[in-house]
Structure formats: C-alpha cells, structure tokens
C-alpha cells in the first residue's frame, strides 16, 4: 500500500545528480559516492573492480535501505591515487570490459547464426 511507485526504482528524480561525490572529513583520500537509483547490480561490480586496483585500500558499498533506491560506494586510496581517480578508472575499465564482452558475444552469435 505504502510502497513507492515502481518507477521510483530507476527514474532519477529531476534535479538530482546520478552520482554525487562527498569527501570524507576525517580520513585523507577517502570519499563516498552516492549513486542514485542503482542497487547491488552496479554496487557489487564496481566494488569488485575497485578491489583490483592496487592503490585502493578500502572499497565497499551499501544499500542503506531496501526502499531507498540508491547505493553508497566508499573508497579509500593510497596517496598515489585519489578516490575520484580510482573510481573513474574502475568505471572506464568496466566499460571496456563490458564492451569487449558484448563484441565477443555478438561475434559469436554472428558466427553461429551464419552456420545455420
């Protein structure tokens, strides 16, 4: 009854940024990114990609509440890098990886469909 509308889950409300960045006040080189209207799908993959980065000391995300459709990613890096940099790097790498996956898949599909 009181559940939010379904579209709330993926439509970013007007005036809200998809991703917002907030530096941690206590720890150097630490920050949290709030990604609106995303859930474990993105959170998990970003987290794991960040883990691959040698400069990242801490990377984690959490879903604050099941009915709040946003995730908070927290990153802490060494002084060689910065959270923003690590985050960008991770996103770019993921992008490439997924592109690659897509292209390989499509090639395979083309090959198989060509055979029949």
């Amino acid at each position: 009854m009181n559940a939010p509308d379904r579209y709330e889950r993926f439509v970013v409300p007007e005036g809200t940024k998809k991703v917002s960045y907030e530096r941690d006040t206590k720890i150097i080189n630490a920050a949290s990114f709030t990604i609106e209207r995303e859930d474990h799908t993105v959170g998990n993959i970003v987290r794991m990609q960040l883990h691959r980065d040698g400069n990242v000391l801490f990377a984690g995300y959490k879903l604050p509440h099941p009915l709040q459709y946003k995730i908070i990613v927290r990153v802490h890096t060494t002084s060689q890098s910065s959270p923003m940099q690590a985050y960008n790097l991770a996103i770019n790498d993921l992008d490439k990886e997924l592109d690659h996956l897509k292209s390989v898949f499509e090639a395979e599909v083309a090959k198989v469909s060509g055979e029949y």
């Binding site: 794991m48 883990h51 984690g60 995300y61 959490k62 604050p64 908070i72 927290r74 802490h76």
Partner: protein, 1488 residues
Amino acid sequence: MKKSNGDNSSSGRKKTTFGPQLSEDDVASIVMGGIVEKGVNQTVSQPQVTVLPFPVARHRSHGPHWAPRASNLSTHGKEVEEDDGEDTDLTNFDLVAADANPIKRKQKKGLDFRRWKELANGDDSVLLHNKKEHKSDGNAKPREVEKELNSTKSEVVKSHEHKIGNVGVDDIQSNIGNGIQSTIKSKNTSSHSLHVAAGMEQGSTSIESEIDAENRARLEKMSTDEIAEAQDEIMKKMNPALIKILQKRGQNKMKKKNSIDSAAIGSISEAFSENNKKESISDNAHSTTITSQKHTQKGLENKDVAEVKSAATSLWDAWSTNVEAARDLRFSLDGDVINNYGQAPGNSSAMGTYSVENASERDFLRTEGDPGALGYTIKEALALTRSVVPGQRSLALHLLASVLYKAQDNIIKNQARSTLKVGNQNKIVDWEALWAFALGPEPELALSLRMCLDDNHNSVVIACARVIQCVLSYDFNELLFDISEKTGIFEKDVCTAPIFRSRPNIDVGFLHGGFWKYNTKPSNIFPFDKIIKDDDAENEHTIKDDMVVATQDIAAGLVRMGILPRIRYLLESDPSAALEECLISILVAIARHSPTCADAIMKCERLISVVVDRFTRKDQIGVDYSKIKSVILMKVLARSERKRCMEFVNGGIFQKLTWHLYRCAFSVDHWMNIETEKFKLLSALLVEQLRFWKVCIQYGYCISYFSDLFPALYIWLDIPSFEKLIAKNIIQEFTAITKESYLVLKALTRTLPNFYSHSEKVDQSIDDPMTDAETWRWTHVGPMIDLALKWLSLENDPYLSSLLLLSGRMNNEGLTLTSVLWVISTVLQFLFGVLKSVIPEDNSIVSGNLPWLPEFIPKIGLHIIKNRILSFDRSDTNHAGSFLEFLHQCRHQSDKETSLASVCCLNGLLETVITVNKLIKLAKTDITMSPNDHQSVESADKILTDGLLKCSISEMTTLLETFMKLTSLSGQLMQSVEMFGRGGPAPGVGVGWGAAAGGFWSLNILVAQMDARLVLQLLEIFLVESAKEKENHTDDEMNMTMERLNCAFSLCLLVGPMDGFIMEKVLDILLQPEILMYLDFGIRRSLTFGWRYTEEEYLMFSENLMSHFKDRWLHVKKSKSKTRDGQHGTSKKSKFSLNTIQEDVDTSAHTSLLTEWAHQRLPLPAHWFLSPISTIDYTKLVNLPVKSNVLEVHKSGLFFILGLEAISNHVSSNAYSIQNVPVIWKLHALSVTLFAGMDILEDEKTRDIYSNLQEFYGQILDKKLLEVGCNSSDFLKFDKEIHDSYSTFVETLVENFAGASYGDLLFGRQISMYLHRCVGAPVRLAVWNALSNIRALELLPPLDKCLAREEGYLEPPEDDEMILEAYVKSWVAGSLDRSLTRKSVAFTLAVHHLSHFIFGNHSGDKNSSRNKLAKSILRDYSRKSDHEVMMVKLIQYEKPAKYEKLEQAADASLQGMEIARRLTVLREACEGNSTLLGVVEKLKKVIS
C-alpha cells in the same frame, strides 16, 4: 486426538534420527549396540528422553511435548516396529501394540504436517540431521538439492498427504519432509555447520544416542583384539538362542532398511527432477556400502557430541529425565513414595498386568491382602478417578491430593536446589519434576478434576475440591500473601498466573528480558460472549480448546471448563462446612490468578451474592473458616479493581462482611472471657476484616467509618496487659489484631491533607468522579501518636524491655517475639506515614525556613532517644545494646518470619528517623518541650538539634556493611526464577510454578527484597553524603564508595515485579551526575584515560541513561487496547516520550491494587545494564524525521559500563557484580553498538572508551580461557546462548564493516573477535565466509592488534574441517591475496591452521581431507603464479614458540630438513598426479 498426533509425529521423528545410523553400520555393531541397550546395563529400566524433551521451552500451545511411554521406552523403536514377531523381549509387548495401531495413524492425517512444521520452526538443530545424510560422503551437493527441494516443497506436501496411508514409505517420506524443512531453515547457517549440527542433534535430544555414542567411543578406543575379547565375554554371558535371534533380526533389518530406503527415496524423488533422483539414490547406495570408513567417522562425530554439548542442554536433559521418572513413581495412599515395589526385571511381567487402563480392576481381583500395597502411579490414580465405584474415585482423589500437597511442600522445603544436578541415580524423588509432570502438558489432571466435581457423591466432590485446592497451591500461596501483607510495605498483590518471557528481537540487540506474557491469552480464559449466547457458540466451543488452555495454565483451564457455575451450584445446595471452605478457597485462588479470572468470578451470576448470603445467614456469633475465607475472597476481589471495591461498599457487601468490627466495643475483659479457641478464630476473622477495610481506605472509601470504629479499635491499639494474654495464651492473636489496626491507621495517614497546606486541595479532586473526597483529619492523629508511642516505650514497659532489649533479655519463645516485632514495625510505619504528610509539599523550603514544627515531631524524636532505640555514642556507656542492635541480631535468626519482621522494623525505624531528622533540620527552631520530658535526658535535645542520623552514624555504618553482604549474596536468587526461560517449569499458579524452592514465591526472596530496601535507604544516605563532599578522597574512602556503588548495582537484580519504584530509586541514586563522576575516578584509577569530562557532560549522561533505563526496563506495556502484535509498535513509540509513561503508571495505581507480571519486564536479567549500548535505532537508517538521542544514549552507556567495569575491579568482595555477567553478552553488546552504523566511533572520547572496553573484555576472555583450559575452548556460543539466528546478525555486521567502515581498526577488531578460537564453530564459519565473500578479510587488523591474546586465536590448532575448507576456499578464490601484504589476521590464521593441518602429524583418518586441501592449494598455485609468496609462507611457516612477538617469528622461517619433509608431504598429497608433482618441484626450486 491431539495426543495421538503428538505421539505419532514424535515417534516418526525418532526413527528418523535412529534409522540412517543403523543402516550404515555393519551387523556386528548392531549386535554390540543392541546388547548394551538391551539391558545388560539395565538401561531399559531407566526412563528415556524423547526427541522432544519435556516440556518444550517455548510456548505450551505448541502441543503435547512428549510421546507416550510406549514409544519412549523402546530404545530401538525401529527394531520393534520392523520385527516380524520374533521379538522375545517380554517387556516390549505393549509398546509394539501402541506403535502398531493403524487406526490412530489415519486419524492424524489432516493435522500431521502442520505440526511438524511448527516443531521444525521451533528447533532446527533437531532436524538438521537429514542433511547430514546427503552430505556425508561429500559427493552430494546439498546446496543444489536444497534449492530444488525448496521449489518443490509444496508438491511434497501434497504427495505426503496422499501417501500417508502407505506405511512402509511413510516413515522415510516423513524423513525427507523433515529434511526439507531443515534445509530451508538452515539456509542461513551455511551448510558447513552440518557436521557439528548433526552432532548436536544427537547430543541434545536423546539419551539413546548418547549411550550409543559412548559405546562407539569406547569401541573406537579399543583395539581389534580387545573388541574380540569383549565380544566373547558378552557372548558367554548370553543365551546362545538369544544371540541367534538378535543376529537374525539384525540381518533382516539391514535388508529391509536398504530396500525401504532406496524404494522410498525412489518414490519420493518422482516428485523431484530426474537427475536429482539419481543423485540421491547413488548417494544412498554409496553410504550403505561403505561401512568401515563410516565407522571411524562416527567415532569422530561422537567426540564432537561431548564437546558441543553445553551446560544448558545437559541441565535440560537431566530435567527431562527427572520428569519422565515421575511417570513411574508409585505412591501409597497418603502420598508417600513406594520404593520397593520390585522393579527387578524378573518382576516386570507381573507389573505389566497393572497398567493405566486397568487400574480399577486390581482391587476386584485381589480381595485378600492389601490391594493398595503396590501403590499407584499418578496416571493410574487419574484412571481410577473414572472408576464406577465411588469409593475408588474418592480414594484416588485423596491420593492425588496428598501427592500434590507433598510435592509442593517438598518444593518449598528444598532449599538446596540440588535435585537437578544429582540426577536420578540415588533415587531421590525430584518433587519439582513430579509436580511438573502432574500438571504438565498432558491434560488428564484438569479434565478428570473437572469431571469429578460434577460427581453425585458428596465424598467424591469434596475430595475433588481438595485436589483442586492443592493444584491451585492455595495453602502455600496464601501463606506467602499473608506474610507479605504483614510487612505492610507491599501495597499491591501480585498475580499468580503462570507467565513466560517474550522472545528477544533484534531491536533490543537480542538482549533477553522481554515483556512477560501470560501462558494463556486472557481472552481464552473466559470467553464471555460465548457464555452469554450459549446456543450460537455451541458448535465452535469444543473440549479440545479447553484442553489446550488447561495445558497452558491449569487454573485458566478449569475456569474455562466452567468450574465457577458448578461451584455456585454447590454453594447453593447447602454444602457441608468442609466443602464450603474448600470451594471458597478455590475461589480465592482463582481470584488471585489474574485480573481476567477475578473478572470471571464477578461476572458469574449470583456467585458473589451466594457467598455473602452464606456469610450472613449462618449463625451470627460463631466464626468458622469459611467465613474468614469469604472475607479474604472479597478483599482479593476488591483489590483487583477500584470499581469493584466501590460496588462492594455501595452495595452493602462491605458492611455485611465487617460487622464483627463494630461488635468489638467491649472492654478488654470481655475479650478475655472468650474461649481461647474461639478467640483465635475471631482474631483471624477480625484481621481479615481490617484488611478488607484497609483496601477500601487505600482506594479512598470508608474513611469516615473511623469515628464509628475508633472505640473498638482503641482496645487493640493500646498496650495490653501482657500477663493476662500470656496466661490465656492468646498473645499472638491479640497482637495480630493490633498490628492490623496500625496498618489501617497507616493507610489512613495516606489520606491526610498536608500539614502545612491551607488551601483546600479537595476542590481539585472533586472533579474526578473516581476519587472520593473523604480524608482523615489531623485532629484524630494526635491521640493515635500517643498510643503508638506507648509501643515504643521499651524502657518503661517491663515486658517489652525484657523481650526486646538485649540487656534484659531472657529466653523467650520466638513466636511471641515475632508477633511483637510485627506490631512495632507497623507502629513505626504508622509514625512514618504521619511524618510524611508533615513534610511540606513545596520543595522550595530550604533548611530553617519551616514556619513552625508540630509538637509531636520532637516528641517522637525524644522517644526514640530515650528508649535506647538507637545507641548514641555519648549516652550509652554503661549498658550497651540498643533496640537497633537487637533487631540486627534477629535478622540472622533461622526463622524466616522473625528475620523478616526484624528487617521490617529496621526499615520502619530508619524511615522514621530519617524523616524526623529532615523535618527538624527544615525547622531549625528551638525545640519546645513539656517540662516533664526534660528531666530525664539532658543531652536529648542536643542530639535532636545535631541530627539523629549524625549521632548514630557509626551504628548505621555497621548496619550497612552487614546488610550489604546479605544482599549481594542473594543477588542470584531472582535469576533462578527464569529456569528454562519461563517463570517456572509447571503451569500452576504462584508456588505452583514449581520452580526450585518456590522460586519467586518463596520467603527467601521476600527477605532478600526487604534487605535490599534497607540497604537502599542506607545507601541513599551515605552515597549522597559522599557524593557531596567531592574530590580529596583517601584511597580507603574511595574503595568504600566503590563497594557501595557496586552494591547498589547488584540491588537491581532483586527487584521483583511489585516494586518497580525501588529500581527507579536505585537508578536515581546510581545515575546522579556526582556518582557518575565517581565512575570516572574509577576509570582513571584502573587505566590511563586521557579525557576529562565536564559537569555538563555528566549531567547529560545522567539524563540520558536515566530516561533510557526507566523506559527500557520499567515501562509497563499497556495491554488491553493493543493487540499482541501491536507490542512492537508501542514499545518503539514510547521510547522517547517518558512523560506519558509515568502518567500511565499513575492512573493504573489508582484503579487497581494488583500488579501483573505480564506486560512488564521485571525482574531484570543479569545483563540488563548492557541495554543502552545494545539498542538498535532503525529510524536513523530509514532517515525518518524522528529525532532520537540513541547515539547519545550509546555514548552514555559506553561510559557507564566502562565505569562499572572499572570499579568492579576494585571491589574486594566476591559478591555479585558486573564481573559475573558472562563475557559473551558483553562482547555481543559491543557488536550491537556497531550494528546500525559506526557513528559511535566517530566521537574521539567515545572511541577511546570503546577501545578500552574491548581491551577489558579481551582480558576477561583470556582469564576465562585460562580457567577452562585449552580443551573445552569454544565457550562463546553466540548461536546457542544469544539467538538462533546469530549468524544472520553477524553477516549483516560484516556487511556494514565491508560497506562503510573504511576498515576502521576498532570495528575490525570487533569483527576479528568472532574468529577467536573460543567462538563456536558455526558462528566463526559464518563470519569467515561472510568476510571472504565480501572481500573484507584484508581489512581485519593484524593479529597483535586484535582483542585478547594472540594464542587465543591460534591455539588449539583448528580441527573443524569445514573451517579448514573455508580457509582453502578463500585462498583459492584470492580473497586472501591482500591479507598477506596488509598483515591481516586472516592470513595469519589461515596459514597457521592450514600448515598445522597439512604438515602436522595426524593419524591416518584425516589423510584424505588433508590431501584434498593440499591438492586444491597446489592446483591453485599452478594457475596463479602470484600466489607463490603465500605458498612459500605456508611451507616455511613455523609455529612460534611465543606468540607475543609474532612479527619477528613469522620471518624466522624454517630451513633444511623440515622443509624437505614438508615437500614430501605435499608430494604424497598429489597422489601421483603428474602436473601437481611438477608444481611441487617448482616450489622446491623456489624455496631452495
């Protein structure tokens, strides 16, 4: 119906536990096992515990809790059932019959599965076993199976119902059905826990398997030669024919088992997918072929059983054994246990002829001799109540009455509480168990009693009434209520209805001590609407409902079965005096049960008027017991509600019942002329009538009657001539009336308007229709005070002084002393009552500002001084020994009542002295005295002006010290109330809860609570004093204060449901800002703590904690308006609105003088003080706008707890303190603080406190570890002791840690605590897996930064293969990679335990798993070359000799020979796999 359900389901379950084991064993082991169980050790004659022990720990409504004897006794239920009639064991005849009855099976069809589900939800550990079957070879993949089972669950349910008639398959099917639930249930507890869980199930549920386990363990220890030898020995002992039979049976069983197993699984798996079927079949076949290996594995498992079994379960086992033992006890007609009825095996066939069913036959069959000599069991007696011969019926009822009475008597007497530990060996009858058995979940007792009450033979009816009276524990309850009323301190009565605690939830951090609930819902007791429109309800209302209620709560059951109309009928039909007395007693007991039951009595038409009629119609002058009890009944009813009291007064019932009071206006001589016996009765009646009046006064009615009644009262209030009383031997009776009169006066003082208030407060109260405008007048008070002071003139009255002062003391009989002490205590209370209404309401009046002091105040003060009631340092040099000292000595007397009376006196005395002192200080005027007072004591007025307290300070200090010891010793008393998580083991009322030594319903606790009150008063004086002085304390003073603080803390545990305000007072004292400052001193003393707190902070702490504690523990749940489910909402809503709560309490106080256990939380659990840090605030998570100060409360709580810990370190006495609380709770509470987020760690000060607490608890953990020793190390069983779903909790915690903590050190420490070796394997595994899955292992701190010492994590080496596998899994999956570079504790742990497991010396049995682990690590290395460093570390790892300098030790790695050996081990582990061998070669090169 219900019963048969229970028995079938549980016998089915039994088979499931036992079946698979048998199928896997070889023939020899069956024979061996069989022999032992068959009674060479005579285990058969001992009662057996069932799968579901008695009674189930949760709610009674969960149905019958143990199967009937038939299925219990058959230690080998399977064998018996599948035997084709060759069984020669004579004792098992009837057992087979009970099990083989096919008709019963069909009956339960509809309900069967539901019940299982219930049970499955209740106790998952029991059900996990089926998973073991799947898992046992490692081939099957339980996770997959689980998923599929999940999806097809509903189908299975259906198919289950269809095939239920199919007997052969039925069992196995149920087996699998069980398994499904268990798998579903255990999804959270990850599959690795199986091993242990299976072990647990065996350990906790049945003794059979324990015996079995023991046998197997012994078998394992024996060498093959030894086994052969033993076998020979047994063979020789046994009849060869028997052996043959046994062997044959064993073989048959093997065959059958196999066929059935596979057939069943085949058929059931039709409901599943095809491949699943194959898998399970092959699995099954596999398991049956492997025999020898299985055997060893069994042995392993059994070792686990012994270890895993916690103290709680063994206690539970002992308890259920004892309860079952009660089934076989035989009683003679007067309730004694008959021991020598011949339990020898030879005799058992003879015994068998008398079963429960034919108990009534026996007296016909045996006309000669003594038919009753054999005695009756309880069940037989119950069966006999249905006999056709009235004589037998009443005989049986008499027997029951005497047995029940004896049981209660013994429960109360048994102070040692040892029966449980002793067990059943030395034939001590465990009366608690017997009582629990008699009342227990089998509803026969309630039903037969109800039926017998309808009997048409008077003798049967009266006997039945007696039994009911006993069942309701009328006598013992009344004794307690009488005494508690004598104290005059408890204004409210407590309900006697049985109760249990609601289960803890995550909101309060699983902290135990939830609200109490009634065992049976109040709406079930008396379905009013149904009674009114009887016709409609006829089809709904069945006897089964009644039975359910009766098993939950026997009194409620009886009421529901319409005992009240029957009693009314009996009363109307002019019963005999004895019956009438019994009936009214029953009514009283029911009225005391709960408000609902009192309501039921009121609503039962004509019942009250019949009772009153009988009271008035009978001979006016004569007094008999039923008259006394009628007055008690009215008093109890009036107490329960204000309106009812008003009805009684307005309806003339009160006047009718108390007219004896008016008759008393005769001279004393008249009284003396009454016969002693008559006088005793009359006195009892008068006492009750005065109490009834007192109740009315407390509600504010009938105050004006005082002027009419005063002439009569005067006789009692004055001091009598003791000689005459002694001559007539009625001193006790006389003083009882006096005491009660003073209590009435005390109640009257409550209604006095304040002495100084001139403005009429009365106007205000007129608006309220409920309050009566009547008040007592001050003009009446003066003479009363004079009378009262006469009782305190110890010096002037020779009799009193000889009795009550040490100096002139003769040896008096105790009873007189006690009764006089009671009088004096009430006198003092009356005086205190008067003084209290003199204290100006206006708080603004400071000392010296009071306009004038009424004359009686210094008079009272002088009286106290002159009569040596206190000893003042100066005045008493010649004759020592004041009244106070005398009382002090009386406290230590063996007689409970005397000591209670003396403590009451002390209480009253202190209260009076303190108030007089306070008032004089307030006034500070010259004390004007009449000249005749002056002459005796010159220094008296000086003492008065100096302050009574100050002058007697030394005496008070000694008093405080002794009583502090007394209270702290009894600190644990209240804890026994909650044995097995409920008010008591049995569903009776009051004493009938059957808790050891009466539990809450015993004088012990009453005395302890009285002591506590006294200590509280003294502490209030001393602590406040010392707090005021501030700073500049010597060490001794500090220590003393700390001791006192600790004592105040331990006081809280003694608080019962009646006296929440004591708790409030304790909190007020303990949480004053000044006292918190003391805690701060304490902290500073025991550790270096850099922070300083300001006054404002103390103030804030105090406010926060005060409101939190009061809210959390003292808040009484409003019941009526809310539904049960609403509880959650209410408690949450009210969390931040303290004011409204207090209002609630106030209004309830006006409308009722009854305290319910239900809806409140007192008494407190031992770890109550942890509540501020283990409350989870969800509002923050959801970003709700509710402003909450939870964070502040957390901070304050952390400070408070650290303070308590610190001071308890300095306390010398070994009494109860914070240190006695198990460390598991403390560690858990720290985790809960972090559960909702880690804001708490952001504040620097709090962070420091938190880390200090962690260190503290680490030290405690180390200490505990030293105590228990290395072998039984896993004492931190979070999942067992705190909550079943602890692993879920911990997983969430880990998620928080990995998601938001930035790898905070303190948080990491807290998490790594769960990897300590002391933590039970399931939780440890859950934490490791959660960390590994979420890649947070590397975030944990290094080992030397963890809490507690390093070896706690490393020793003893891990032997749980599940955990080792988890280590390897994380290794392979790469989640350990970074742990190496970051030196996280995770890597250290993995390397340590793995290297020990792989390279250590093991006997052969672990070889396979070792090889498996080694191979997977090697394979992983072959794929990932960057694991080389880790690999080398693993091989070179040497167990450090000392753990302190682990860093260096890790670097100093192994060389030479050992490395070579380890490489060989690896090579062996490869088992010839060439690629892996290559990997080892590569490693060799790297290392060398």
